[in-house]
């Protein structure tokens, strides 16, 4: 009996065990890789409209220290998604099993972040530690979906320096499920089979060589293979919908939000007191946004379906806090109370090079944030409801220039948020400075920043104490021993916010004074860095923001010196942008004017060396020195 049992248990293991000998990895996959995905299978079994089981198994060989993070396992779970059957194994370079995860070694922590008051999200985690490279880890887990809204996507190569031998994506669905899918960088079609009234979709890739991260590269989603899957009909937390169109997804959000927009009576009264006498829509929006900013704050609460459903407007009215969903829903309710049509808008937040949603594939997983919007044929106003200091109608880099889903009274539609162009993103520095006999610099700087360029200053102005500002300035300038004083700001709110900044700087030893010479770098602050050119460029160059910077510097040097050497004026105009620096000297006053513009654009990789040359020229010109000799 005992023997039988052994055979029964061992046999399948022997049959299924992968050979993780590291010599089986082709050399081409090891080149420039920190790790190699040996094998992966992501297997979704859809049991019905609101139930799915996701099994994930993968094995990665780690080649060096930089790949160690692949030996860490972690996954989230919550009331709507349980996590079980976690297993993990560690193999040496020969493929011999040397360690297995024991259940008691798996950590279990709350996954609530600092800004969240309450959430049912938790995480399980485990890490292998091995120093004998290469070694292999194999992990496996199972998730049980209680309700379907967002299904996992398949993207085997999620980051740079990872190669892949084999990865499979399998989705099993009932016959009538109508699984929708979208392939990115995948050649061919999935293999679809029908067996016992179950449809199986299978995708597979093999032998993919790692890529390296590059500055200004396109979004990762454009670079590697990805398959998105989504249901047509779905159900979660007692709510159901059809997401096969954006309108359908919008309708679902309407159902979730239904009945949650009732304001407390005192707030209704406040809304009327504030807006009844106002005539234009813009005025009403402005005053209510201001009221929202003065009277609420951001506190995140995410429990079960509450991860997608806003807290009631009544709750926000009483407690004066909520998350992005609750605050946007509350703002929309107030605007409607004032007779202004407004919408709840879901968006993917974050600045920089982001992945836009795919318009012909409607699904909720693009989004992680909610804002409000007052639609208008000519003058749509966008409102970030979680920020208490932002200008009314300015979206900022957090939600600008992207496609978003606007929830209307009847459903949903895709619209685009504002795009800030070159003339709206300006940084103008005016400097009056002098150098004393011992080389000390004193400078008064008046700067004006607008649009995307004023965001850092906005944070310094509103969210930093005077001491933090002192600290910031006293670290950020590229000067030897210096001190920044008299920091002042003046903000002009508006659709394109503007901040004027005044600072005074003294810098010891700014100029180098030797026995008879004075060395000066007349361009004080704006200094660009070089681009690296040691590796051939692979990807397109994506510059995702346009801006213009103008510095005018008037620098007075001590009397009694004559010019010995002076840099040449530079002016370069090319497809990447414009750069110029010009000097003029009158008596002991040096005037420097530097201009630089950069345009949002996309260039093929072949133009990278040309761009690097442009940066090299600017690097040199920014740091050019003037030398003066003491008159005898």
């Amino acid at each position: 009996m005992k023997h039988l049992l052994y055979i029964f248990v061992l046999l399948p293991t022997i049959l299924l065990a992968q050979d993780y000998k590291t010599t089986l990895i082709p050399d081409s996959l090891k080149y420039n890789a920190d790790a190699v995905m040996r094998f992966e299978e992501l297997h979704i079994t859809i049991k019905g409209i609101d139930r799915a089981v996701v099994k994930h198994k993968w094995a990665i060989t780690i080649l060096n220290e930089n790949g160690d993070h692949f030996s860490f396992y972690s996954n989230y779970y919550s009331n709507l998604r349980s996590l079980s059957d976690i297993s993990g194994k560690l193999f040496d370079t020969e493929g011999k099993l040397i360690q297995k995860i024991k259940k008691k070694d798996i950590g279990d922590v709350s996954a609530t972040d600092e800004s969240t008051l309450l959430s049912d999200s938790r995480a399980k985690y485990f890490a292998f530690h091995c120093k004998n490279y290469p070694y292999t880890v194999e992990f496996e887990d199972e998730e049980d979906y209680n309700g379907i809204y967002i299904l996992p996507n398949w993207q085997p190569i999620e980051k740079a320096y990872l190669s892949l031998q084999q990865s499979k994506f399998i989705v099993e669905t009932p016959l009538d499920y109508n699984l929708r899918y979208k392939q990115i960088n995948y050649l061919g079609d999935p293999i679809i089979t029908n067996k016992n009234s179950i449809l199986t979709y299978a995708w597979e890739i093999t032998n993919k060589i790692s890529f390296q991260a590059e500055k200004w590269q396109p979004p990762i989603n454009e670079l590697t293979t990805k398959v998105l899957v989504a249901p047509k009909r779905f159900s979660i937390g007692g709510y159901s919908g059809d997401m096969s169109t954006w309108d359908g997804l919008g309708k679902f959000l309407l159902t979730l939000n239904k009945g949650r927009n009732e304001l407390p009576d005192n707030i209704k009264q406040d809304v009327h007191t504030l807006t009844d006498k106002l005539t234009t829509k813009q005025e009403k929006v402005y005053i209510l946004y201001n009221f929202l900013q003065q009277n609420t704050r951001y506190i995140s609460i995410q429990l079960g379906i509450g991860g997608w459903q806003p807290l009631e407007a009544k709750f926000v009215g009483e407690k004066k806090f909520g998350d992005c969903k609750a605050l946007s829903n509350y703002m929309v309710a107030m605007l409607k109370e004032a007779g202004v049509n407004a919408c709840y808008v879901v968006v993917k937040s974050g600045s920089g090079n982001h992945f836009n949603l795919i318009e012909d594939f409607s699904a909720p997983y693009y989004f992680d944030h909610v804002i409000a919007c007052v639609p208008d044929k000519k003058d749509t106003i966008w409102l970030e409801c979680t920020d208490q200091t932002m200008s009314c109608g300015y979206t900022g880099s957090f939600t600008d220039n992207r496609k978003v889903l606007m929830v209307t009274d009847t459903g949903g539609t895709i619209v685009t948020t504002p795009h800030y162009s070159i003339n709206e993103n300006r940084g103008i520095n005016n400097v009056h400075a002098s150098v004393s006999n011992d080389g000390t610099l004193s400078a008064e700087v008046i700067s004006i920043y607008t649009g995307l360029l004023q965001e850092d200053l906005h944070d310094l102005y509103y969210h930093a104490t005077q001491k933090q500002r002192d600290k910031y300035y006293n670290h950020s300038l590229n000067l030897p021993t210096y001190k920044v004083e008299n920091i002042n700001y003046k903000e002009s709110k508006g659709r394109i916010p503007e901040i004027e900044e005044h600072i005074s700087i003294t810098s010891l030893n700014y100029a180098s004074v030797t026995g008879k010479r004075l060395f000066i770098q007349p361009n004080l602050f704006s200094k660009l860095e070089k681009l690296t050119t040691d590796k051939p460029r692979k990807f397109d160059i994506v510059i995702d923001e346009s801006h213009i910077a103008i510095d005018t510097i008037a620098l007075e040097i001590p009397k009694g010196y004559s010019l010995e050497s002076m840099p040449k004026n530079v002016s370069i105009n090319n497809k990447f942008g414009f750069y110029s620096i010009e000097y003029s000297i009158k008596d002991n006053l040096i005037t420097t004017i530097r201009k630089h513009t950069e345009n949002e654009n996309r260039f093929p990789a072949s133009e990278y060396l040309e761009l690097a040359k442009f940066y090299e020229q600017m690097y040199k010109a920014d740091r050019a020195k003037m030398v003066f000799v003491k008159d005898e």
Partner: protein, 677 residues
């Protein structure tokens, strides 16, 4: 059961006769109950509150008492009331409060959290409105095995709101008498902590920080305690009463400035005004006192008796075979120690550098090649013992953990364990948990004053002070005229020990060719560097040597400005802020010497040479020397920067900053070559 033994011993308690009250000395009196909030509380006038304060802690009042419980034991009763004025939105995050509640330990029961109230007060048109937090808005979060967290956020907040909360925690864990932190991220107007301890308990209190107390007093108060042992089906409940002179201590601080964080301090924990408690003894009767904190002889003996440490001297036969594959049986002791140390350092991963307790068995550590700092260093000692080599554990407190009190045997102050060993007549301190660390070296974070040797016969301390660690860097550059290539030469530098360690860590992750590219990029265009070689990269006991070739492309320029220090030049003052509150604590004493020997480039003459200079820091605490001279067609220079110690008082800060400002200035100077026409 702990409870029953406590009861039986308690019956013999002696009651002291004398009763005294708070001595009425001093101008301040403790706050018994906070006054009702009035309009004037919304306006704060205090020397420590300026426009920068986004919040002001108006009062933070806490106490710990003991009371009998129904389990035949005593509870600690901790009460806190805190009142905060929120002046700006930027402080709203402190309106979300998290209170950790302990539930671990041997008897596994959660401390009782109760008497909770939280209220927001707003001043609107001269009227104070109150919004109470409903009880349903108090949340409980399972944090980990040992703690649950009670969490809540205040409703109806505005800029200018006052928030107030209070709670009581009853705890059976009287070894965990709660510490009190007087100072905060925001200014505190009044912080008060009162602790009343029954005569049977003796706690040791430790104070930290630079601030003075407004009240600091101890008095005897008469207290009666009753303990109930609950009955069951067969027995009725028993009540035990005892009374006596309890020790009542009261600490108050007034007008406490906000805590500031600064660079080059080892740990802010050293400067934060706080008081902490350690249960020293329980006096059960005249004839029996249980000492929890003992002298170091007894403490060391106790530590070594526990399985954590006694396993070092167990008969770990299974180790023998494994060790034989690392070092032959017949090898001399020193070779054995070095090989075993290197084996652990190079093959094991330390996952937790913050404990002196083992987390698993020796065997498991050996098999998984993973463990915390105690697991690995205890394994080191066990392996050595197996080979007949004696070593002692050394406890220390790392720099980020703050200073440990040298005299009291409070092991909770320590968070790290290493090993001390005598080889021949030389003492080595070994830590096998730091990758690439040289034999007998300590990681910089371990240099925090001293370590305590855990040996029952000689529990002495060993010095682990930054002031005793010298970090020397020597660099030499030679440049000659070459008839074909122009000016060519070599750069060679021997790094200091810690700089070598940092470079080894960097090169474990980065390719040497990438490192070379970054290094060479720092040179100006007219200087070409190539052919990097790195000596002793893998011999961790030796400092690293860096060598490469230089080629100067002077070309057709009429005037050449040339910095003789190249990239060795200090470009920025490391001491940025203009003022300093706390001492400057650098991790080691640093010295560097740079020498240059160069021929004047062919076709050029020297038009200007920087002047030689020598300055001292505070007479003998540091020295900077810049010597340069030209003889015939040769330029020789030597530049030395040397500090004599690693720690400087705030009073010396301005001098130190000026000293470095001078170095930055001097090192920026250039040699000017002119073409001979």
């Amino acid at each position: 059961m702990k409870a029953n033994s406590l009861i039986s011993k308690l019956l013999a308690i002696v009651v002291y006769a004398s009763i005294s009250l708070w001595s009425a000395k001093g101008q301040y009196k403790p706050i018994v109950k906070l006054e009702k909030i009035s309009a004037k509380d919304f306006q704060v006038n205090s020397p420590v509150v300026d426009n920068n304060a986004n919040a002001v802690i108006l009062a933070d009042i806490g106490s710990t008492d003991f009371e009998g419980n129904t389990n035949g034991d005593l509870n600690l009763v901790f009460k806190e009331t805190k009142r905060i004025l929120l002046r700006s939105r930027n402080a709203f995050d402190i309106a979300t409060v998290k209170v950790p509640v302990y539930m671990g330990g041997v008897i596994d029961e959660e401390e009782t959290f109760g008497n909770f109230e939280a209220t927001t007060y707003n001043l609107e048109n001269g009227q104070i409105t109150e919004t109470k937090l409903d009880k349903a808005s108090l949340f409980k979060e399972k944090y980990n095995k040992y703690y649950n967290i009670r969490k809540f956020t205040f409703p109806n907040l505005k800029e200018g709101s006052i928030i107030e909360y209070k709670f009581t925690i009853k705890s059976p864990y009287y070894e965990h008498l709660r510490n009190w932190q007087f100072q905060d991220e925001y200014p505190v107007l009044w912080s008060q902590y009162q602790v009343t301890i029954p005569p049977i308990f003796d706690y040791l209190s430790i104070r930290k920080g630079y601030l003075k107390f407004a009240i600091d007093s101890v008095a005897n108060v008469f207290k009666a305690y009753s303990i109930i042992v609950s009955g069951d089906a067969t027995a009725a409940s028993d009540i035990y009463r005892f009374s006596g002179n309890a020790t009542a201590a009261l600490w108050v601080m007034k007008d406490i400035p906000a805590l500031k964080l600064e660079k080059y301090t080892s740990s802010n924990k050293n400067y934060l005004a706080q008081i902490s408690f350690n249960l020293r003894s329980i006096h059960f009767s005249d004839t029996y006192t249980k000492f929890i904190v003992k002298d170091w002889f007894k403490t060391a003996e106790d530590i070594l008796k526990k399985p954590d440490y006694s396993c070092i001297r167990d008969n770990n036969n299974w180790l023998r075979e494994n060790i034989q594959s690392i070092v032959p049986d017949a090898a001399p002791d020193e070779e054995k120690v070095r090989k075993i140390y290197a084996f652990l350092r190079d093959n094991f991963t330390c996952t937790d550098h913050d404990t002196y307790k083992q987390s698993q068995s020796l065997k498991k550590t050996f098999q998984t090649k993973t463990g915390n700092v105690a697991d690995i260093n205890i394994l080191l000692m066990a392996m050595l013992y197996n080979q007949g080599i004696e070593s002692d554990p050394v406890f220390l407190s790392t720099r980020d953990n703050g200073w440990a009190n040298e005299s009291a045997a409070l092991i909770n102050q320590y968070n790290y364990v290493v090993s001390r060993i005598l080889l021949g007549n030389k003492v080595y301190v070994l830590d096998a948990t730091q990758p690439r660390l040289g034999f007998g070296n300590m990681a910089a974070k371990c240099l925090n004053g001293f370590g305590r040797i855990i040996n029952k016969k000689s529990p002495w301390i060993i010095t682990l002070s930054p002031d005793s660690v010298m970090e020397n860097r020597n660099t030499a550059v030679f440049l000659n005229n070459d008839s074909i290539q122009g000016v060519v030469g070599t750069y060679s530098s021997n790094l200091g020990y810690y700089e070598s360690l940092e470079l080894r860590d960097e090169l474990a992750k980065e390719k040497q060719e990438d490192y070379a590219k970054d290094l060479f990029k720092a040179y100006p265009q007219e200087i070409e560097a190539s052919g990097l070689t790195i000596d002793s990269l893998k011999s961790y006991d030796d400092p690293i040597g860096i060598n490469y070739n230089l080629k100067l492309k002077f070309g057709e320029e009429d005037i050449v400005y040339f910095n003789p220090l190249f990239d060795e030049q200090l470009k920025k003052n490391p001491f940025e802020s203009a003022e300093r509150l706390y001492p400057v604590e650098m991790p080691y004493v640093k010295k560097s010497t740079y020498t240059l020997n160069m021929e004047v480039p062919k076709g050029y003459k020297v038009d200007e040479l920087p002047k030689s200079t020598r300055v001292k820091l505070n007479e003998d605490e540091g020295m900077f020397e810049y010597m340069i001279e030209k003889s015939d067609d040769n330029i020789q220079m030597r530049c030395k920067v040397g500090l004599k110690k690693a720690t400087y008082n705030p009073d010396d800060y301005a001098t130190l900053r000026d000293f470095f400002a001078f170095i930055v200035k001097k090192e920026a100077e250039q040699i000017v070559f002119k073409k001979i026409k």
